[in-house]
């Protein structure tokens, strides 16, 4: 009984609490914080039930209650479920929410109430995107994430926050409007084939692959694919559609960056796998070479640009472009190993980049700068902080024994057979990532303390340790025993790749 409603609780629960917060006057800041923290921990608790209730041997969707009619005239339903792929991403989201709420504890701003409401609404949108099995529902959740993120960047961001927020909004919207047309077209096509109106993903799995992809550039299958691809490629972001990302990250508050990098970008890669690959496998074959070229370009380009950034946060933002290039490469190669690696790398990136943004945020709260040359020698001043930062950095650049290595290795090994050239170039990207990350660490933490004010910086405190601890634990865990996370998705990935 509970299992039937588990996904609905995790998805819509945060919104219900957000409505509750609406009625508490804004001067009770601590009340808002505590309620949101409790909500997020409870939601995480529910989501662990997802983990324990999930049967890794079943490839299809699980914990899937019956579809509830929503707009029956069009065959639109409320239908949710998880498979091994979305399960991990849902867990990542529910894990990051309490982390973010705890990280926001130090913010001394006026509008705590609205900040927490936007966090909760955003969570509903993100989880809903991963669990929706009806394309109308999926689109609604996909778009809902825009509004809270727009406010997070625009209200609580840095000096150029309005520019960044509007750019984020328009870019993402630009992709998704075409996706709406594509969804409508798929529904029409489904009706042509079967005589039934439906927006169900499971129904589309039967009919969408029948869309013709031959007959030139304007074959319906290719156009529908391109529409989905545009929406997801902007979100990921795939080079050359990444230009909104550095702006959004630099201007967003660090809590916003964590959710943006940790989860929102994964909505793009998830969509590529779930919709582009599964619904339109023939068109996928046509587009895969393009995706591989763009992915490798993104890996190298992101790394090179990251290397010259004077701002730590911007550096981490560009490193995201590079890391997500790996994910796209793994997806585009389309073997069992590379796809599993890509999904794992989505989680890895959420953990490491999330942790990096949080750590950079802590530095910023102490010094009010993010410029690398305003630091130096922090290892002596903040030894514990330095240690944590180093673990996360090494995880990010793929040191064996930590999480990044597993994901990147699987991606490269899985892609090698078909695309050796791409793998060679991507391997270059790993080397570059070591260069820019370690160089940054060197300039920030080693050497003499150049700025006298930095002598007095306090080390990481207990709350902040709690903020990053879950991520550090998982970074090590995935590095040592990745099978915990690879097993549940194995059957699902196999089913998705099988035509």
């Amino acid at each position: 009984m509970l299992n039937d409603h588990l996904l609905t609780i995790v998805t819509l629960g945060p919104t219900i609490f957000a409505v509750l917060l609406l009625f508490i006057p804004m001067r009770f800041k601590t009340v808002h914080r505590v309620i949101t923290l409790i909500t997020s921990i409870v939601m995480f608790g529910f989501s662990t039930r997802l983990w324990t209730g999930f049967n890794p041997d079943v490839p299809g969707f699980q914990l899937m209650p019956k579809a509830i009619p929503w707009i029956p005239q069009f065959g639109i339903t409320y239908h949710v479920g998880v498979d091994g792929i979305s399960l991990l991403l849902v867990l990542l989201t529910t894990l990051l929410l309490p982390v973010v709420v705890l990280a926001a504890w130090s913010l001394n701003i006026e509008h705590i109430k609205s900040l927490h409401i936007t966090f909760l609404l955003l969570t509903t949108g993100m989880i809903g995107t991963f669990v929706a099995l009806d394309l109308f529902l999926f689109y609604v959740f996909w778009e809902i994430t825009l509004i809270p993120m727009y406010f997070i960047i625009g209200v609580w961001g840095g000096p150029r926050r309005i520019y960044a927020a509007v750019k984020f909004f328009i870019f993402t919207m630009a992709g998704s409007v075409f996706m709406l047309v594509a969804i409508l077209y798929l529904a029409w096509f489904h009706h042509q084939q079967t005589g039934v109106w439906s927006y169900s993903y499971l129904d589309f799995l039967q009919t969408a692959p029948l869309l013709p992809t031959t007959g030139g550039l304007f074959a319906p299958g290719l156009l529908v694919f391109a529409a989905f691809l545009l929406a997801f490629a902007i979100k990921v972001p795939i080079f050359p559609l990444h230009t909104w990302l550095p702006d959004a990250h630099v201007e967003a508050p660090s809590t916003g960056s964590v959710l943006l990098a940790g989860v929102l970008l994964k909505m793009g890669t998830y969509g590529l796998l779930r919709f582009n690959h599964a619904l339109l496998p023939d068109a996928w074959d046509v587009f895969a070479p393009l995706l591989i070229v763009l992915a490798v370009t993104g890996i190298i380009y992101g790394a090179l640009v990251a290397m010259v950034q004077p701002d730590v946060k911007k550096l981490v933002a560009y490193s995201s472009v590079s890391h997500l290039g790996f994910v796209v490469l793994g997806l585009a190669a389309g073997t069992q190993a590379s796809t599993q690696g890509a999904v794992l790398q989505m989680v890895n990136h959420g953990l490491t980049t999330g942790a990096l943004f949080l750590l950079v945020g802590m530095l910023y709260e102490r010094t009010y700068t993010r410029l690398i040359d305003r630091y130096g020698g922090l290892a002596g001043v903040m030894p514990i902080f330095t240690g944590i930062f180093l673990v996360v950095t090494l995880g990010s650049i793929g040191l064996p024994g930590l999480n990044g290595f597993v994901g990147e290795f699987l991606i490269l090994a899985g892609s090698w057979a078909e695309h050796p050239v791409a793998v060679v170039f991507a391997g270059l990207g790993i080397i570059l990532s070591a260069v820019y990350m370690l160089w940054m660490v060197q300039r920030v933490f080693w050497g003499p303390v150049d700025i006298t004010a930095n002598y007095a910086l306090p080390d990481i405190n207990l709350r902040e340790v709690f903020v990053v601890a879950p991520m550090v634990v998982l970074i090590v865990w995935i590095g040592i025993h990745p099978n915990t996370f690879l097993e549940p998705m194995e059957a699902s990935v196999r089913l998705l790749l099988a035509r």
Binding site: W70, I71, P72, Q73, F74, H111, F136, Y139, V140, E143, I144, L146, I147, Y150, F151, G154, V155, R161, I162, A165, V166, F169, I170, M173, A174, V177, F178, L180, V181, L184, Y185, A187, W188, H191
Partner: protein
């Protein structure tokens, strides 16, 4: 001499209630000035009673010698016309007191205009359509210039009058030609002849084109849109709200009846082409020009032009899907627009000053309720889920794609993307800019804020659960006479 039956009287009871109330309002205004302050309440009561009458009395179908059709379609259209009128009066109460305008006539004129649009919407005869159109337009000419001491307001009234008179003349002349071409004033009969011939005869074609031209003025479609920004800006805000919804709703239904009756989608490729061009031009011009507007009422005028462009796509598609989409779109548009204009009425210093968007800086925290309602209305207008504006666009584009007009849907979504830019700009000015040094004195109007909140809440809740309205629209459209 026609003797009305009992059923025929019942069928037009809502209109009778409003007309009687309008007369009563005028009498009170003239002879009992002490009761003047109850007029707003009385008018709202009458409108509510009229809605109740429309929804609970039986719907007999064709009445008054086949001139009017009172059926589920009429009930649907009347309901949202009346709801729009209700909102306009709700906003007007405090507004009238503040501007110290003479208030009795105002309510009577609103009621007459409402009756006119209701008549227009339920007519299936060219004569009654024209009567309805005039009954709607003439009170609006007066209402537009209601603040007679304000220059912009008088300008707006004059502009609307001149343009509106032209439009009426177009419609009248077109109707004469339609009559000449078909020897009937009955829409069904006119349509039947076109369908049987399989094409539009030249006389009918010219007549139809002129009627469409006249209606396009009312709908503010390109190229008949130029009056809209000035009139929207100059008219008293409650009147603008009324003007932005009610005449458009009635005119679109008339257009839909004609298009559907003549089966133009299949009979006349030229109509489809011409209407598509008008729809695309309206969307594009409306959205692009709205970007550079500095006055929020002008911005909403251009946004209205664009929205009628979307609705026209549904008219082109026609049929059950397209018709239902038109009805749903109008219902959604009513809610969103009423919400937006109520917020404009609240966030307004003086009627004769421009309502600059930049004056809204930082009001998100000073006036949280009105700002939130405005935010929801604007997100809805830009077509972002989960608000009803998204569902409305979804329904329209779905109908277009199902009929093979994928390109119209693509242009439509590109236009919604353009529109996001200016809607979202207002929102960031509300929440992300600092309060200016000189804070505008907006005051606080409980009724207006209540109206805005109700509209915004409806926009949200009906966006999440549109099923009931959609079902009503779909069953109503089956009554569209063919």
């Amino acid at each position: 001499m026609l003797t009305p039956t009992h059923a025929e009287i019942i069928a037009i009871a809502p209109e009778l209630i409003l007309t009687a109330t309008a007369a009563l309002v005028l009498i009170i205004e003239a002879f009992l000035p002490g009761l003047r302050r109850y007029l707003s309440g009385l008018t709202m009561l009458a409108i509510a009673g009229s809605i109740w009458a429309r929804l609970s009395f039986e719907l007999p179908g064709a009445v008054w010698a086949g001139m009017l059709r009172v059926d589920q379609l009429t009930a649907f259209v009347d309901t949202y016309i009346l709801i729009a009128a209700f909102f306009a009066v709700w906003m007007a109460g405090p507004f009238m007191r503040r501007t110290a305008a003479n208030c009795g006539e105002f309510y009577a004129l609103i009621l007459f205009a409402t009756v006119g649009s209701m008549v227009m919407a339920c007519s299936v005869n060219l004569l009654t359509i024209f009567l309805g159109l005039e009954l709607l337009s003439i009170p609006l000419y007066v209402l537009n210039a209601f603040l007679k001491r304000h220059e912009v307001c008088v300008e707006a009234g004059l502009k609307y009058f001149v343009v509106g008179a032209f439009a009426s003349a177009f419609v009248a002349y077109g109707m004469a030609l339609l009559y000449g071409g078909s020897a009937s004033t009955d829409l069904v009969e006119v349509g039947r002849q076109v369908v049987e011939l399989g094409f539009l005869s030249p006389l009918t074609a010219v007549g139809f084109a002129m009627v469409v031209g006249g209606l396009a003025f009312k709908l503010a479609l390109v190229p008949c849109h130029a009056w809209a920004p000035d009139v929207y800006q100059g008219s008293p805000t409650p009147v603008t709200a009324f003007l932005s919804v009610v005449p458009k709703g009635a005119a679109l239904i008339v257009l839909l009846r004609m298009v559907e009756g003549m089966d133009l989608l299949h009979v006349s490729p030229r109509w489809v082409l011409a209407a598509s061009v008008i729809a695309v031009a309206s969307q594009t011009l409306g959205n692009v020009v709205a970007i550079v507007q500095r006055d929020i009422k002008r911005m909403l005028a251009y946004s209205g032009i664009a929205h009628m462009g979307y609705a026209l796509v549904a008219v082109i598609v026609a049929g059950v899907d397209g018709g239902a989409a038109v009805l749903f779109y109008l219902a959604a548009y009513t809610l969103m627009n009423m919400g937006a204009f109520a917020c404009v009425a609240q966030l307004s210093e003086r009627e004769d000053r421009p309502h600059l968007i930049s004056d809204l800086s930082g009001q998100g925290y000073n006036r949280p309720v009105a700002a939130l309602a405005l935010t929801i209305s604007l997100f809805a207008l830009s077509g972002i889920p989960p608000f009803i504006g998204f569902t409305a666009k979804f329904v329209v584009f779905r109908a277009a794609i199902n009929e093979g007009f994928v390109w119209l849907a693509v242009i439509g979504v590109v236009n919604s993307l353009i529109s996001v830019f200016y809607y979202v700009r207002v929102i960031y000015i509300l929440y992300m800019r600092q309060l200016p040094d000189r804070q505008p004195d907006y005051g606080f109007n409980l009724p207006i804020c209540a109206a805005a909140s109700v509209a915004a809440l409806g926009t949200l809740l009906l966006g999440i659960y549109p099923t009931a309205i959609l079902a009503a629209a779909q069953s109503a459209i089956l009554f569209l006479a063919r």
